[in-house]
């Protein structure tokens, strides 16, 4: 409890992030590798070192999937400023495959953590299917929309009837007489 209080005191002041200098973080600088092949070579070199390789197998035996592990390696390399996040995403696949091959060679049980039979649909096909779906929905909707809405009048407000132009409106004279204004009476008063 006491430790928590001290940690709260040492915490950042609101707005501190706005004035802190973040320009020198490795991932803010230009990456070390701008070529995919070179970046992959770097990853393979780091993984193939014996102590690291056995650490990988140890993790795989402890039910960490190959996908998770390769993501960790790639992200840590990105945090060190080796390559960009785009490269990390692209290189995760080859790295996962490489780890799986090595694990097979060393008779280590592993789980890929990925659905291998991944169905790839190009963007054009998805857009086309979306259009088709919308068209189908419209086709289904039309017969229902054409049906007459019986309760339409009931749902409208009472004042809506006044808006109707077809209704007869009394002339001004009639309105005056209805209100009790007569010309004869006015003259008598004067």
């Amino acid at each position: 409890m006491a430790n928590k209080k001290y940690a709260a005191i040492d915490g950042p002041i609101p707005g501190e992030n706005l004035i802190s200098d973040e320009r020198n973080y490795p991932w803010r600088r230009a990456p070390d590798y701008t070529d995919l092949d070179e970046a992959m070579e770097f990853l393979l070199d780091t993984i193939s070192e014996k102590p690291k390789l056995f650490a990988v197998f140890n993790a795989l035996e402890n039910e960490i999937t190959v996908a998770q592990f390769s993501q960790t390696i790639v992200m840590s390399a990105m945090a060190q400023g080796r390559f960009t996040l785009d490269f990390a995403l692209l290189l995760a696949g080859p790295l996962a495959k490489y780890i799986s091959i090595l694990a097979e060679g060393y008779d280590v049980d592993y789980d890929m953590g990925v659905e291998t039979e991944y169905m790839y649909f190009p963007k054009e096909l998805i857009d086309a299917s979306q259009l088709d779906f919308e068209l189908q929905q419209e086709m289904e909707r039309t017969p229902e929309d054409e049906e007459e809405d019986v309760n339409e009048e009931a749902r409208e407000g009472l004042m809506n009837a006044m808006k109707d132009e077809s209704m007869d409106v009394a002339s001004e004279e009639e309105q005056d007489s209805m209100l009790g204004y007569n010309e004869g009476e006015d003259e008598e008063l004067v």
Binding site: D37, M40, Q71, L90, A92, A96, G113, E115, T116, Y118
Partner: protein, 75 residues
Amino acid sequence: MNLNKAFKRSIARYLDGVGTKEMDNASEEPFTYTLETLEAIADTVLEERRTAKKKAAKKASRTKKKTEESDTDGE
């Protein structure tokens, strides 16, 4: 999209052979680390282990023979 999902998707695409094609299209030079080349590289790494295994097996068989010979001599 969630970053974890994006990674999983990327890995799955590569394993299905779609990812390599996309990388080829994106860059000027084709991506060298295809599924086949990776297997070849892994083979070279695993070769050391195989030779070490063979050597260990040979050593074990030799020591076995020696112990058997020494046992028979003793008798």
